[in-house]
Symmetry: C2
Subunit: 183 residues, 2 copies
DNA sequence: ATATATATATATCTTATTGATATATATATT
DNA sequence: AATATATATATCAATAAGATATATATATAT
């Protein structure tokens, strides 16, 4: 149900192929949402049957057809209806720094069973990884037209700002308190 | 593979039933990791076959038997080995405020299609929800013996501190910048 | 006093989702 | 020239979530 809604939401900014939806969900947005091809393609097909999207097939010689999906009027209506209905649910089920699946933090919880040098190494690499993501979020160079949604809209700026804020304060905390983890 | 590791990690602090594992993962730790019964029970059974855990069945009249699982020596070895091997993977796959599945933030991204009053209401409720979780994290009253792992160990304090930090800065950002979302 | 809700406790089943793999070609890099 | 990466779609097995069924005890509200 959500998968449909997310794909439709991304299609509101213009027609896209399944590959482009995946691409978009692999940019800065990847920090808050991801979908695999195994989810995207079946969902697109299902929505085609339900007439929530239409599909224009571009023939390409020797390559498989490029299938460009557009949201239909029925789809737009369904999307807005569904967004409204699920808003109170999405509010709680989501996570942005208050509900956060984290294998890294589980590793820290269990770190007493890890060689102390490994724990140190893991934290170093984690900080590096976090800083790479920060850089990706703050990057202001050219983007594909798909990524413009994260740039030029107030919603996109808000999200980028929030994520930057959360990640930075996480990095700060780890740097200041890592010494308190048992040695 | 991870499910096994997480269950074993929780069993290192003492024998537990499947229900108690679920309980523990529904406390403050729920913010970073959760498992459903549909995952816990089959995993426990699989690990019993593999002799990573042992099981003491307590007969109870008229109630189903209480099955208490303990980590075996083989299990402890497997756990430590696996923790070490997967550490470099868990480092990246995890999310704590830098990679964060968030239906709430997707809702914000799509909020232009939501009635403006709804967006406002959603943000208000979200802030309330976040503050409830903060209170839960900072709560210092009595806990079940299972929860002690999050209290009395340096790892537990570190996690609680990090989560508190991340959530607080998220709340701050939202309060200061919500006016910038289109009206 | 009684009804209702919540907590304890295990288990199964359908559905959703991931992650891996297969296929095919163009383009960029070494 | 060789290799790696990007474009592009699709399927499938393995994993995991979420719902539901079952059974009882206890706490709370009417």
């Amino acid at each position: 149900m959500q998968t449909e809604c997310i794909c439709l939401g991304l299609l509101t900014t213009g027609p896209k192929s399944g590959y482009e939806i995946k691409q978009f969900l692999s940019g800065p947005l990847n920090q808050i949402m991801s979908l695999s091809f195994g989810t995207i393609y079946p969902t697109l097909n299902k929505m085609l049957t339900d007439e929530l999207v239409s599909c224009k097939q571009k023939a390409q010689d020797k390559k498989p057809d490029k299938k460009i999906y557009s949201i239909t009027k029925k789809g737009q209506k369904w999307f807005e209806q569904n967004l409204l209905e699920s808003s109170s649910e999405w509010l709680r089920s989501g996570n942005y720094g208050d509900q956060v699946k984290s294998e890294f933090l589980m590793l820290i919880l269990f770190s007493e069973y890890l060689p102390k040098e490994t724990t140190n190494l893991v934290i170093n690499e984690r900080l590096l990884f976090a800083k790479q993501i920060l850089a990706l979020l703050q990057y202001d160079g050219p983007v594909t037209q798909t990524g413009a949604q994260m740039r030029n809209t107030p919603q996109g700026s808000f999200l980028r700002g929030l994520m930057t804020n959360i990640i930075s304060s996480g990095i700060d905390y780890i740097e200041k308190n890592r010494n308190k983890l048992g040695k």
